[in-house]
């Protein structure tokens, strides 16, 4: 990693044939494979696997948010609702109804999308700060609804989301073993990343970027801007709900804080830190933030202060996020 950063220094000195840039082109072309390789070796580089799983799950949460924020240009302050709905749906189904994980997870995604559709229909016509406020308000409604729901466990959160063993097509994984649990989550994340890659390369992927670049022009070109935004909102929620469901299984529980507005704020931070509108940036953001948090909290109670300082440093010196700025330097013409 460090060697590429050094090689990248000032963009002007790099020719088009520079190896770093060529490598980057190759990686961009095979972004699913590259993501696969990096995330496959990732837990071996982390101090402990549970942290790697957290990073993977929050990375996925940020990936979903990034589809709306980075690619469609809409800042939502209510994405905790989708993480939470996904987590509670999967959690309640598994803990209280004995639903199998392979059914609970897709149902959690569907639930996230349905809630997003309802929220989106109300919010999508507002813009900018109003959109952020409406999504925030609606996600607070979701918070209180779930809080009041007897099945959710209220303040104490949901307990007993136990999936200790999964078997599929003869392959058995012991989820009490952190390394095996990592690869269980990893499999879902990779499917999600493959789907995302397809979406970004699709005609719809072009449409959302057009909406982000210039709404009035996109409309004049014949795109139904509101519908495009709504679909992006729903798809984005689907990814976040998947992250929520995986987190419920990972923690064997769902803390009520999942739905808290701080969780909505955190994902904005992850995206900004990693690089909004980049494919891999959300994982970089999640890794950075959670690593800093983990390190700082080990030696001081006031770790949030240090996380804040580091965040400000990165926002000032990496305006496009760590990954986004790196990409821009390596690949001057985008």
């Amino acid at each position: 990693m460090t060697t590429t950063i050094k090689a990248a220094a000032p963009p002007i000195e790099i020719g088009t044939r520079h190896p770093a840039r060529r490598a980057l082109r190759a990686i961009a072309k095979h972004r699913i494979a590259a993501t696969f390789v990096v995330l496959a070796v990732f837990p071996w580089l982390m101090p402990y696997q549970s942290l790697a799983i957290n990073i993977l799950i929050y990375g996925l949460y940020a990936v979903g948010f990034n589809l709306l924020f980075g690619y469609t240009g809409l800042l939502s302050f209510g994405h905790a609702a989708f993480l939470g709905v996904g987590a509670y749906t999967a959690g309640i189904l598994i803990a209280q109804h004995g639903t199998a994980w392979w059914l609970a997870i897709p149902l959690a995604i569907v639930a996230g999308c349905v809630v997003a559709l309802a929220m989106g229909l109300l919010a999508i016509r507002t813009r900018g700060i109003y959109f952020a406020m409406v999504t925030l308000a609606l996600s607070q409604c979701v918070y209180f609804l779930i809080y009041q729901l007897p099945a959710s466990g209220g303040e104490n959160g949901l307990r007993g989301v136990n999936v200790s063993e999964v078997s599929l097509l003869g392959l058995k994984l012991d989820l009490l073993n952190p390394m095996q649990k990592y690869y269980f989550v990893f499999a879902f994340v990779m499917v999600a990343m493959a789907v995302l890659s397809r979406i970004l390369a699709s005609p719809f992927g072009g449409a959302i970027e057009a909406v982000r670049e210039n709404e009035a022009r996109a409309r004049a070109c014949g795109f139904d801007v509101e519908r495009t935004k709504l679909l992006s909102f729903v798809l984005s929620a689907g990814f976040c709900a998947l992250a929520g469901a995986l987190n419920a299984i990972h923690l064997s529980s769902v803390p009520i804080e999942t739905l808290h507005y701080a969780t909505s704020g955190m994902v904005v931070m992850l995206c900004l830190l990693g690089g909004m509108g980049t494919y891999f940036g959300p994982f970089v953001g999640a890794a950075l933030l959670l690593l800093i948090q983990d390190t700082a909290s080990a030696w001081t109670e006031h770790w949030q202060l240090y996380v804040g300082i580091v965040f400000i440093f990165f926002v000032l010196f990496f305006p496009k996020g760590v990954w986004g700025t790196l990409l821009e330097r390596l690949n001057h013409d985008r």
Partner: protein, 250 residues
């Protein structure tokens, strides 16, 4: 006068919170020619343009396109029925290349919600986009981001994006605004080239330019239609002369 109009307004009026911007405007735009809408500042030209292009819904009256009532049709539908516009202020996708700007315009008519196909594989879009860039003289700039183009080039690209809708009616809001004389000349040649295959309506402000390229003129003043006819008719029109003398020449 005899041909069926491409677009027609019947009794169109527009009020903004008590202020009347347009009153009972009846205009028939003939096909295949260039018509310009002129008038002094505050005459209601922009409001009228926005009604024709679907950005505003008139408070009164109806708009007919090829005989069909299109009053209240949602703005994004206009590109699909065959009406495209270029904006007064350059309005592009700044971080897309010139080619991508035109290509996304073409794509809007092929696939808008497709989630699985690769848009790079959509048949013929790149070729068609290149052909349009060539029409407006931007073939050499295809790979450059729109934000890096010169002002005149951005205006030309704007027209290429509008043409990507394959419009039967092309509406242009002050296409030469802010241009140097040289750029204006190039743009006027381009506009002349575009008329014939399609109907073109300009909103303009520069009288001299309008007189030289338009076949018909529509003159608005204080939100009302005061004259309509060939440039010669308009030049001889007493009312128009009075309105413009009061304002000074633009």
């Amino acid at each position: 006068m005899t041909a069926d109009p491409v677009i027609e307004t019947r009794g169109v009026g527009m009020r903004f919170q008590g202020f009347t911007a347009l009153k009972d405007v009846n205009v028939r735009i003939q096909p295949g020619i260039l018509t310009s809408i002129i008038g002094p500042n505050g005459a209601g030209k922009s409001t009228f343009f926005n009604i024709l292009s679907g950005a505003l819904r008139p408070s009164d009256g109806r708009v007919l396109f090829q005989g069909n009532d299109i009053t209240g049709t949602s703005p994004h539908q206009f590109a699909h029925i065959g009406i495209a516009k270029s904006f007064q202020i350059t309005n592009l996708f700044p971080n897309f290349t010139a080619l991508e700007n035109v290509r996304i315009g073409l794509q809007a008519h092929v696939s808008r919600y497709g989630l699985w196909r690769r848009r790079a594989l959509l048949q013929g879009l790149t070729e068609e986009a290149m052909a349009l860039l060539d029409t407006v003289g931007l073939a050499d700039c295809a790979q450059r981001p729109a934000r890096e183009l010169a002002h005149g080039q951005q205006r030309a690209l704007e027209i290429a994006v509008a043409l990507a809708a394959r419009p039967r009616l092309l509406l242009m809001d002050e296409p030469t605004a802010g241009m140097s004389p040289e750029e204006t000349r190039v743009m006027m040649d381009l506009i002349r080239k575009l008329v014939g295959e399609r109907t073109v309506v300009l909103v303009e402000h520069k009288m001299k330019m309008v007189m030289s390229i338009s076949e018909r003129l529509v003159v608005l003043h204080h939100g009302e239609l005061i004259a309509e006819g060939t440039p010669d008719d308009i030049r001889g029109n007493e009312m128009v002369r009075r309105v413009y003398l009061g304002q000074g020449q633009h």
